[in-house]
């Protein structure tokens, strides 16, 4: 390490020179040496930071001597992960509490980046208790729940005397009937995510799971290539038959939301956030939207993808106890209820879905519990980023027509074999 130290010293000299050149202008980060404990919380910018700020203000008022600052990270789940990966690879201690996408706790725990939290998980929805427990240790606590839903145009289905579809075939038939009848060239039957983003992993998994298959079993790869082919062919079929639009490989989550909200989509696969916006002032479909469980492959069962965000404590934080206490607060039923009412974020506690205040503020949550409870987690592995990359780039390539469903399934299998051994 001595070479590093010498280099560090020379670098410090250079830095000193720069600092001197810049005078007081260079605002070097200074750690306040007061009696207060300052905690830094990393929040995703789409996780409604304003709501968390309100809650943190309350927490500060109740805990004198604790000051909590929010740091907003990269905007997409990928960008955040890249940022956190850089910071934590360097064992940086500036962040104390991290808001993590549900797919990350396993990876962060394996890398030794989060501290285990001794707590009882039985009150949470089972899926979240499981997603945050690695090798019997609790590595993060749930922030809010989410899953993929089928949004549909209640008014149009009613007009044609249709029920929300239970299978994808029914969905295709219904879409055809409505789009033929409406004669609106801008109306798409179905919108889903075909761009190579995290959401495309769920796009692939939903029909795959629906055939009763899993990706991993007991940590080993248990991939079914036929089911995978069928899943990819299903989506590609929607694009080819005109149920979904031809450039579906360009569509990201918010494109689906915007087009549905603009009244140009009959069925949309999307996360919970789309609801509040579809009822907003700028929406062309307010009051005309229904939410249902995603359809099944014929003969299979209906399945959906688990989303949501978790709170972890950085292993490099210098304020472990304070950070854990804060995380327990942020994950408490009290907070979960507050954000459900004020931010329409799905609760992580089963009992809150029936809570009168919650259902009064967001009526459709009453129906959401059954869906969230049966949602399946994406493969839990420390190398999830590679799994995700293998799946979503292939989904994108198949939908773009660059690869056939069968070749795509073979590619996913080959790549997963290298990742999960």
């Amino acid at each position: 390490m001595s070479v590093g130290r010498i280099l560090g010293l020379t670098a410090r000299l250079t830095a000193g020179l720069t600092g001197w050149l810049l005078g007081a202008a260079a605002c070097t980060f200074a750690t306040g040496a007061s009696a207060e404990t300052a905690l830094k919380v990393f929040v995703t910018s789409q996780g409604q930071p304003a709501i968390w700020r309100t809650l943190l203000d309350q927490y500060e008022a109740r805990n004198p001597g604790i000051k909590v600052n929010i740091e907003l990270g990269g905007t997409t789940s990928d960008m955040q992960a890249q940022y956190l990966n850089t910071v934590l690879t360097a064992k940086d201690s500036s962040l104390d509490v991290l808001m993590l996408d549900v797919i990350r706790p396993a990876q962060f725990a394996a890398a030794g980046w989060t501290s285990p939290i001794a707590t009882d998980m039985s009150a949470y929805l089972r899926a979240y208790a499981e997603a945050n427990t690695v090798d019997g240790k609790v590595v993060a606590l749930p922030a809010f729940a989410d899953s993929m839903f089928l949004y549909y145009r209640k008014d149009l289905l009613d007009k044609y005397g249709l029920q929300p579809p239970k299978t994808w075939d029914e969905l295709a038939d219904a879409a055809k009937k409505v789009t033929d009848g409406e004669k609106n060239p801008n109306l798409q039957g179905l919108s889903f995510q075909g761009k190579a983003i995290e959401g495309a992993v769920c796009t692939f998994l939903v029909p795959y799971w629906s055939q009763g298959k899993v990706v991993t079993k007991d940590g080993k790869l248990d991939f079914d290539r036929d089911a995978a082919t069928k899943s990819l062919a299903l989506w590609k079929g929607f694009a080819d038959s005109g149920v979904a639009k031809k450039n579906i490989a360009e569509v990201a989550t918010d494109d689906t939301r915007k087009e549905f909200q603009g009244g140009n989509v009959l069925f949309a696969v999307n996360w919970a956030y789309a609801w509040a916006m579809s009822q907003g002032a700028e929406s062309a479909v307010a009051g005309k939207v229904g939410v249902a469980r995603l359809p099944a492959i014929k003969g299979g069962e209906q399945a959906t993808c688990l989303g949501g965000w978790e709170w972890g404590v950085s292993a490099f934080s210098k304020h472990q106890d304070e950070a854990k206490k804060l995380v327990e607060y942020l994950s408490s039923p009290e907070v979960s209820k507050y954000i459900a009412i004020n931010g329409s974020l799905l609760p992580t506690y089963g009992k809150l879905y029936k809570d009168g205040d919650v259902t009064k503020a967001v009526p459709w949550f009453a129906d959401a519990q059954a869906i969230v409870e049966t949602a399946k987690p994406r493969p839990v592995t420390p190398r999830y980023n590679e799994v995700s990359e293998a799946i979503r780039t292939t989904v994108n390539a198949v939908l773009a027509g660059a690869t056939t469903p069968a070749d795509g399934a073979a590619q996913i299998e080959a790549r997963l074999k290298r990742i999960i051994r």
């Binding site: 670098a11 250079t14 690879t89 360009e250 994108n396």
Partner: protein, 314 residues
């Protein structure tokens, strides 16, 4: 007047303060050390030290997702590459981008420079048009061009439709997506090429062309016998920096396609970034980076030889 007598006089002027004299009028070696030290320290800390760490890491089995401590792995990371299809694809794309966009931006830049060299009245508007693409951050350019080529909301397909051609889904096709990326890179890079070439054009004395006129040489011949040879040194240096930048292509494909469809338009820099920052396979990522260094070094060596060759010729 030789330098040494001058030096003596200067030394006499400060003879009463010998320490100061030595500092303010050092001999060549001391002076060289003083002058080069800041650059050497900066390069040492910011390049040499990280690069040596990178080379060291490339021999380790160091994947943060494994939960295992780093382990010496010899050449294992390098042996993994031939079997990695994405590595080949990314490398091939990087080479192809370099082969297409370097001559492309040179040609387009040359054309722009020749046009800009016409006697315009509003010179500032022409220069602004050359300088804006250069000063526009790469990440912005990627964002904007990604939007341009969007199949539904992009202006490219709209123009195609207006002139009676069907629009295409650019990012559905590996070739079209690749073409769109190359177009964006050429657009961004050609403006700087044009600037340099324009500057070069304006240093060529008019008398040379007048003399050629007298000799009866046509415009085309003048271009190939006067303009081009005189611009050669300028162009070679511009090409070196352009090539090195092209080998490092990251921002534009990252913003435009994210490497899609599939991994068809991923570049080596993107793949290194992905392996390091996303997959946390620091060993493999470092090994890929070492390969990329090798590639850049080869190109640099080639060009350095060209410069030296050009030097003796002129």
């Amino acid at each position: 007047m030789t330098t040494s007598t001058l030096k003596e006089r200067a030394t006499r002027a400060t003879a009463r303060r010998p320490w100061l004299a030595r500092w303010s009028d050092p001999d060549d070696t001391t002076l060289a050390v003083i002058l080069l030290a800041p650059a050497a320290i900066l390069l040492g800390v910011m390049i040499v030290y990280p690069v040596s760490r990178l080379i060291y890491t490339s021999f380790l089995d160091l994947s943060l997702t494994s939960g295992l401590p780093p382990r010496f792995a010899g050449l294992a990371n390098f042996r993994q590459m031939p079997d990695d299809p994405v590595f080949w694809q990314a490398t091939w794309n990087t080479v192809l981008i370099t082969l297409i966009t370097v001559p492309g931006s040179l040609l387009v830049g040359f054309a722009l420079a020749l046009l800009a060299n016409l006697p315009f009245r509003m010179k500032w508007s022409v220069r602004l048009s050359l300088l804006i693409p250069w000063a526009l951050p790469l990440s912005f350019a990627g964002l904007i061009f990604g939007w341009f080529f969007h199949s539904e909301y992009g202006v490219v397909n709209d123009v195609l439709n207006r002139i009676g051609l069907p629009g295409v889904i650019w990012f559905n096709s590996p070739r079209l997506a690749f073409a769109a990326i190359c177009l964006a890179i050429i657009w961004k890079a050609s403006s700087f090429m044009a600037m340099i070439i324009l500057a070069g054009l304006q240093t060529i004395p008019r008398s040379l062309y007048e003399a050629a006129d007298v000799d009866g040489a046509g415009r085309v011949r003048q271009f190939f016998e006067i303009t081009l040879p005189l611009l050669k040194p300028t162009i070679v240096v511009a090409l070196i920096f352009r090539t090195i930048t092209a080998l490092q292509t990251f921002d534009i494909p990252y913003m435009m396609t994210g490497g899609g469809p599939g991994t068809e338009t991923a570049t080596l820099a993107m793949y290194i970034h992905q392996n390091t920052v996303s997959f946390l396979d620091l060993g493999y990522g470092s090994a890929l980076a070492v390969v990329m260094f090798g590639l850049s070094m080869c190109v640099t060596a080639l060009y350095l030889r060209m410069i030296r060759g050009g030097g003796t010729a002129s």
